[in-house]
């Protein structure tokens, strides 16, 4: 419910405030018709400072998250290209950056390579994928898709965006402190991260890194609480939980995951911060001495950090994929003009992934020195988490099968999500199996796996969402032809970049090596050649994104005007204007059925918005599946 006072009342004319179903956004939808608050529609603030910057409007905040995320996407991508350059042509001059390293004759110093690796991972995970999927699409879509006027706590929502700013500033600033940015990997394992003199990035950069993540974490926590409350409390009349679109389910369960996992990361970050600045010893064993420094009193354990970190960061992997799964479910159903196959099993599968996601963190630690018997139990739970993912994949295929598929840019990206997620999911079984993990742990096989899930999965999901909801966000269509070219090039170059990583990974090329050619194992044409191929494709992948950027900008300014419902979709956000008015819906809609009533034989057109009742002639819904 809006926290703004009621007296700054509607200035938009009486027709907007007219009585509708009488359901207030703040009442529990299943409780029938409650006295309405619909007369309290708030116009957008006139002051641009509060309209576009310090806005409490979920749509503005969503777009703010989107733009910040996309800007950091560029930063993270450039870091990745620098990594690839070094791997293809070790120690050769990096174009335009060699001047930075006069002291090493223009060569990238190995510690800088470690910074690149660390910051690429950190930025892509904490500043790109989570903010875009949850911050941008979560904010923009949840109220629109459940038929609410805004989030439950709009001011908290605004704060959740502005708490990202200290994180943005800190993470960029960390490159410029003495010693430079963190070098301990995005996982920040101590003692490398806690011992000041272990490596240049641990001098100051790591402290900044910890603070940046703390701010990002606070932002995420605010968002999660808001999403959970909004989905539970502000659904439109008739929007029962099992009528929610999959996107909302994905976001809702992700918010739950985040709310329960994040406190553990926050405490771990604080512990590491204290270890670094206050002389505590949570993670230092007795007598630890790094780089011939004085011995620590110790008494802690480095593995403690790994447990705490992965207790959050494994769920974080699902935080980064579940919303995309939801998005893709909606896109595939819409463009197949066919109800989602097995809606309820899909919901339960997401729930199962979330629950199991809490008991698999140890699979990151099979080789860590953790008791191998414990590893065996984590192996079992990890194997089991493959099952709901498999169920989801089969259901997506079931949705397309027998459909009437429209190959839009959004659909192509969604199909690519499914295909690439299959590769990422299946390669996960190799590392879930503890014995094979012995060989592939910490090799490029792992790097391939995470990129198939996070680029092939989450990023293609983000592209799909961008093409799909761009008309709703900005009221204009994106250019479909450019969209398809962007998709085709991204898809080909993505596979060219990341597929060979499986192969060099099986040949044991370790991750986070600034130069692998010093080993007889890797100093051969096959491994070096594949690395060069990957780099060329990565550059192609980076250049392909220019098409997306130009399409985005051009469409923003001069795209064809989009109608309210250009894709003829069923969900609530398409039943209001594009872009939606500040208060989202003139009248709070009433929901009559689940979101996927496409191609109903008794209906006149091939879609049936959630706001229209099913024709009386139609057979009752299959209550086990839909």
């Amino acid at each position: 419910m809006s926290s703004e006072p009621h007296h700054d009342a509607p200035a938009q004319g009486p027709d907007l405030a007219g009585p509708d179903t009488g359901m207030a956004p703040g009442t529990i939808p299943t409780s029938g018709h409650a006295p309405g608050h619909d007369e309290h529609i708030h116009p957008a603030p006139r002051n641009p400072l509060f309209r576009y910057i310090f806005s409490t409007d979920h749509k503005v905040i969503g777009i703010q998250f989107l733009f910040s995320g996309l800007i950091f996407f560029v930063v993270g991508g450039l870091l990745a290209l620098a990594i690839r350059w070094q791997l293809a042509w070790p120690w050769s001059d990096l174009p335009h950056l060699s001047a930075l390293w006069d002291s090493s004759a223009g060569q990238m110093p190995p510690e800088f390579y470690n910074k690149l690796v660390t910051m690429h991972g950190t930025i892509m995970i904490f500043f790109v994928i989570i903010p875009i999927l949850l911050g941008a699409f979560g904010n923009f879509l949840i109220p629109l898709m459940i038929g609410a006027r805004d989030m439950a706590f709009p001011t908290l929502n605004m704060l959740s965006y502005w708490f990202m700013w200290p994180a943005f500033v800190l993470i960029v600033f960390s490159f410029f402190v003495p010693g430079g940015a963190s070098e301990a990997g995005w996982t920040g394992y101590p003692p490398l991260s806690t011992a000041e003199w272990s490596t240049p990035g641990s001098l100051n950069g790591q402290t900044i890194w910890l603070m940046a993540l703390l701010f990002a974490g606070i932002s995420s926590m605010m968002g999660s609480i808001n999403y959970i409350t909004t989905v539970l409390m502000l659904r439109a009349p008739g929007m029962t939980l099992f009528r929610l679109p999959m996107t909302v389910w994905g976001l809702f369960i992700t918010a739950l995951l985040q709310a329960f996992a994040l406190p553990v990361l926050t405490s771990a970050l604080v512990m590491q911060l204290l270890d670094r600045v206050a002389g505590t010893n949570f993670f230092s064993p007795t007598g630890l001495s790094v780089a011939n420094g004085p011995e620590e009193v110790g008494g802690g354990h480095p593995l403690l950090w790994q447990h705490l970190f992965w207790f959050y960061s494994h769920p974080a992997v699902y935080i980064m994929i579940l919303p995309a799964m939801g998005i893709v479910s909606d896109v595939i159903s819409t463009f197949s003009r066919k109800p989602l196959f097995g809606y309820k099993p899909m919901v339960f599968a997401i729930g199962a992934i979330a629950l199991l996601g809490f008991i698999v963190w140890g699979h990151h630690m099979f080789q860590s020195g953790m008791n191998p018997a414990l590893g065996a139990t984590f192996m079992l739970s990890t194997m089991m988490i493959a099952l709901p993912s498999a169920i989801k994949t089969f259901n997506w295929l079931g949705t397309m099968w027998g459909g009437s598929i429209h190959f839009t840019a959004a659909m192509l990206n969604a199909v690519a999500f499914v295909a690439m997620f299959v590769i990422g999911g299946l390669s996960g079984i190799f590392m879930a199996a503890t014995p094979t993990d012995i060989h592939i742990h910490d090799t490029y096989f792992i790097v391939a796996h995470i990129h198939y899930v996070l680029f092939g999965g989450s990023s293609f999901g983000i592209f799909a969402a961008l093409y799909y909801w761009f008309p709703k966000m900005f009221g204009r269509m994106m250019n479909e032809t450019l969209g398809k070219i962007h998709f085709a090039l991204s898809f080909v170059f993505f596979n060219g970049t990341f597929f060979p990583m499986h192969i060099v990974g099986m040949h044991a090329q370790p991750r986070r090596y600034a130069d692998y050619t010093g080993f007889e194992l890797f100093n051969n044409e096959a491994v070096i050649g594949l690395n060069q191929l990957m780099t060329v494709c990565a550059i192609g992948l980076g250049l392909s994104q220019l098409i997306l950027v130009s399409n985005f900008v051009a469409s923003l300014v001069a795209g064809r005007k989009a109608g309210a419902n250009p894709w003829r979709a069923n969900t609530l956000e398409w039943q209001t204007g594009s872009p939606p008015p500040h208060y989202n819906f003139e009248r709070i809609p009433t929901v009559y059925h689940p979101a996927y009533e496409y191609s109903l034989p008794e209906a006149e057109s091939d879609y049936l918005p959630q706001t229209e009742p099913r024709p009386p002639r139609a057979e009752p819904l299959d209550h086990i599946m839909a």
Binding site: E183, S198, P285, G342, G398, V418, N495, H507
Partner: protein, 403 residues
């Protein structure tokens, strides 16, 4: 529209083909080992050929009536110089871990032969010297024989899915192939269905999509079948995991050495004559791990500073080294030869160069010989003048960095 299904189909075909063709092919690992081997083999073959010829040359001088001619003496001189050069080359080979003890032995034999030829030359300059000739010929023949034996025993480290070379590799590779078959078939099935769906069900005017919310039977089928496969996989692999990592399943052997990782090197400590690690007579090496073919070997893994990881790719062994922990690691190798030890856990700016040479000895005797000589070199470093080849460089005296 069909072009899009082709794009997905083609990607799936290439991905499958790459996975089936490329895994663990030892041909990828071997070229650089082969390059080093080829260089060393050239030395050995040259020694084999020329020491035989030189022996014949010297032999011919056994029954001379008087002092050897200037020409003959010149031949002996150049032979002596050549032998000294071979000793240096062999020393370098030994430092690279090539054939380990054999190259050390060859090095000392070449040095001996060089001395024998030198004294024969001195004696022959004065008059007939059958004894000196005899000795030089013996030394040269011995060198040639050992070189021939060394050529015969050159082994490449290898290690591939088709030819695993350790107990762990046999179990892991078997499991790997099993998972590859299962996931490969799943992948082909899923992608096939997707390509067919995209191909067949493209939007056509006049055709409406099937209205269906799913089928309970189908859902149950694609829950139970993958579930059963996953449970099977989970249970099936437990044996291998237990054999490789559980201390309770380790054979009852004394630890071979204590391996301590530190930024950015591996310090290795072998028990001395008393058989105990941690006593004054231990052998300390840096980045030089030796063990014996076919014997289950346990090392105790420690870290001095940050996290590291003990990674022997060809033997499929990986274990993180954690400060404050003492982790026993079990491994073996079926093949003698040179291997590499990598650090697989990010440990700082020099992570990428934290490499150690691993030498797998053919026999226990060979290992004992290496250990004895290394101990001797460690305890009594020879004066620099008499050690031009830097033989002692591999052994490091106990310093502040080592307890």
């Amino acid at each position: 529209m069909k072009a899009w299904s082709l794009l997905f189909g083609l990607t799936a075909v290439i991905a499958t083909a790459a996975f089936v063709y490329a895994p663990f092919d030892e041909d990828w690992w071997l070229p650089s080992y082969r390059a080093t081997n080829a260089e060393a083999m050239a030395t050995l073959e040259e020694i084999d050929a020329r020491s035989g010829a030189l022996a014949g040359e010297v032999e011919a001088m056994r029954d001379l009536g008087g002092p050897a001619s200037a020409e003959q003496l010149e031949g002996l001189d150049s032979g002596r110089r050549w032998l000294a050069r071979q000793a240096v080359r062999l020393g370098m080979m030994a430092d690279q871990g090539f054939l380990s003890e054999r190259s050390r032995e060859l090095q000392s034999r070449a040095a001996l032969a060089s001395e024998a030829v030198a004294s024969a030359r001195e004696a022959l300059g004065i008059g007939p010297a059958p004894a000196a000739v005899e000795e030089a010929v013996g030394a040269l023949e011995g060198l040639r024989e050992r070189a021939e034996a060394a050529i015969a025993s050159v082994s490449e480290p290898g290690g591939s899915l088709r030819a695993p070379i350790s107990s762990a590799a046999r179990q892991i590779d078997h499991l790997y192939v099993l998972i590859l078959v299962i996931t490969g078939l799943t992948f082909v099935g899923v992608m096939g269905a997707m390509v067919v769906a995209l191909w067949r069900f493209g939007a056509k005017p006049g055709r409406k999509a099937v209205y269906s919310h799913g089928s309970l039977k189908v859902e149950i089928a694609w829950t139970v079948i993958p579930g059963a496969i996953l449970v099977f996989l989970a249970l099936y692999q437990l044996r291998a995991w237990a054999d490789i990592k559980f201390k309770s399943s380790y054979p009852d052997v004394a630890p071979l050495a204590e391996v301590t990782a530190r930024q950015f090197q591996w310090t290795i400590r072998y028990p001395g004559p008393d058989g105990q690690i941690g006593t004054g007579d231990d052998l300390h090496t840096v980045n030089d791990l030796h063990f014996v073919k076919g014997q289950p070997t346990i090392i105790r893994l420690k870290s001095d500073d940050v996290l590291h990881s003990f990674f022997l790719p060809q033997l499929r062994i990986k274990q993180d080294a954690v400060p404050g922990m003492d982790i026993p690691v079990l491994f073996d190798a079926d093949k003698a030869g040179r291997f590499e030890l990598l650090c697989a856990e990010l440990c700082g700016w020099g992570h990428y160069k934290m490499r150690a040479q691993v030498t797998v000895h053919e026999t226990q005797d060979e290992f004992d010989e290496w250990l004895a000589r290394s101990l001797e070199e460690q305890d009594y470093p020879p004066p620099p003048a008499s050690d031009p080849d830097g033989v002692a460089a591999a052994a490091v005296p106990p310093g502040p960095g080592v307890e």
